[in-house]
Amino acid sequence: MDIQIEKLTKTYGPQTAVNDISFEVKTGEVLGFLGPNGAGKSTTMKMITGYIGIEKGDIRIGGKRMADDTDNLKRHIGYLPENNPLYLDMPVMDYLAFCAALQGVSKDLIPKRVRKMIGVCGLNREKHKKIGELSKGYRQRVGLAQAMIHDPEILVLDEPTTGLDPNQIIEIRKLIRDLGKEKTVILSTHILPEVEATCDRILIINRGKIVANGTPETLRKQAQGNEVLKLCIEDGDTDTVLKSLKALDTVQGATAIQPDQHLFEVQSKAEQSSKRAVFDLCVKHKWVLTELTPLETKLEDIFRNLTVN
């Protein structure tokens, strides 16, 4: 099921939480929702899941307007809210069965679905405990399990990996990736490597507006512009090397960053790469090229550039 969001706006009193945003998520896509605190991520997710009303604009799920058929469309969505609220006094299995019943899973299928989710989320040892007795990581797994209990076509996850240990994070990311092949997944997070590891597309919002939308590679390219290489060239005189580098056709500028360790930084002209030219140059002068690293703009830098102002 596709999700289309058109010109969505939501204000809280004088504050505009979400300001005229439009985007689309297709089936088989994992969309990463990024933004600083208070950017409007959770508000948007609450509107998609039908918890709060739409003020202006439109949300369509599978072509149907959310506002027209909220109760029915909610059945196709699995949602893990921010802070993962749970009934702490309920045992894990009862809780999952309760959630399944509310989502309209038929009675004879409920035990099967509950068992499946307990397996998928690794809750087998904890299944008879009360949720209140579980550690934060296990509670997070229960939250994920309840979101997926009715095998929804759309998953909306608000910070799904908070509180998990590194092993669990890797498992959950893999799970989200696998789910994302057939389902529509929107996840919000603060952890930037997570977005790169799990998402097909990134949406960065700031102060209620979309400031970037694209795959991690496109965003990086947009932010970076020209290619930058870090080189280590030995066996040559620093000045000569520098001069020869600058003389190359594709090179816009070169600097020696640490002359005593033979480290140089080379910036290419727009849309061109100087990797081969550098290699040929070294071969010609019999210099030894011991390092050639393309310097990529990190997602952190893109995020900072777009959201700090």
Partner: protein, 240 residues
């Protein structure tokens, strides 16, 4: 209907899983039993084989205990954020309210069923007026659903259980006492108006054995209004 029943069932299960249900049932039975059988203007003093005394005591104990049952219903859900969890599932605001309502009413019904030994005891002592007894229980049931609806509404407007409890008691107090007092102090149409609002007079007329559609409509209207306002207060989140 299935959704409402699922919510009500969970509500009952939570009650009986924790100590709340047992404490409330114990207090209710202890309180009404003490005043019915042991203390003050008790059943032996009346010298008749009927349960009037019990019905009047029970109306007072329910007045206090129902807010204690309903106070956490929505206030707690709001506070812990599970309200968001429920309402983003395939559950409408109305289904949630009705589920909570049904769960609380069922607990009250269990409490009322637990007083049946009183009926058996009195019918052993003398010739019990069966019609009057059934009407008395019907009155208690109607009173309970009205107070439960008020309690659900009070619980829907706050995140604090104590505030919900106090609000429910305050609203209940108007119906239980204040309208009656006002009805005595005013004459003419104003006095009549307050008398119509006075819950005690409606309750007494039913528990005397007179089933009047006016009284039933009265209790059902309070119930409907309470639940409607509760639903409205949940729906307010859409327009903040």
């Amino acid at each position: 209907m299935h959704t409402i029943w699922t919510i009500a069932k969970r509500e009952l299960a939570t009650f009986f899983d924790s100590l709340i249900a047992y404490i409330i049932l114990g207090l209710f039975l202890g309180f009404s039993g003490f005043f019915t059988w042991l203390y003050g203007n008790d059943i032996f003093l009346v010298g008749q084989a009927n349960l009037r005394v019990f019905f009047s005591i029970a109306s007072w104990s329910l007045f206090f205990f129902i807010p204690a049952i309903t106070m956490k219903m929505l206030a707690e859900e709001r506070k812990t954020g599970t309200l968001e969890l429920l309402l983003t599932k395939s559950v409408s605001d109305r289904q949630l309210i009705l589920g909570k309502f049904l769960g609380s009413v069922l607990l009250v019904c269990i409490a009322l069923v637990a007083t049946i030994p009183y009926v058996i005891t009195v019918s052993c002592i003398g010739d019990l007026d069966n019609g009057g007894t059934i009407c008395g229980y019907l009155g208690l049931l109607l009173l309970s659903i009205a107070y439960t609806a008020i309690g659900i509404f009070a619980s829907s407007i706050t995140t604090n259980q104590i505030v919900a409890f106090m609000t429910a008691l305050l609203i209940g107090l108007f119906f239980h006492i204040i309208f009656g007092v006002l009805a005595q102090n005013f004459t003419g149409s104003l006095g009549q108006f307050f008398d119509t609002l006075n819950l005690q007079s409606h309750f007494e007329s039913i528990s005397r054995g007179v089933i009047d559609s006016k009284d039933i409509v009265y209790f059902l209207s309070i119930t409907f209004l309470g639940l409607y306002l509760g639903e409205w207060s949940l729906a307010k989140r859409h327009f903040s």
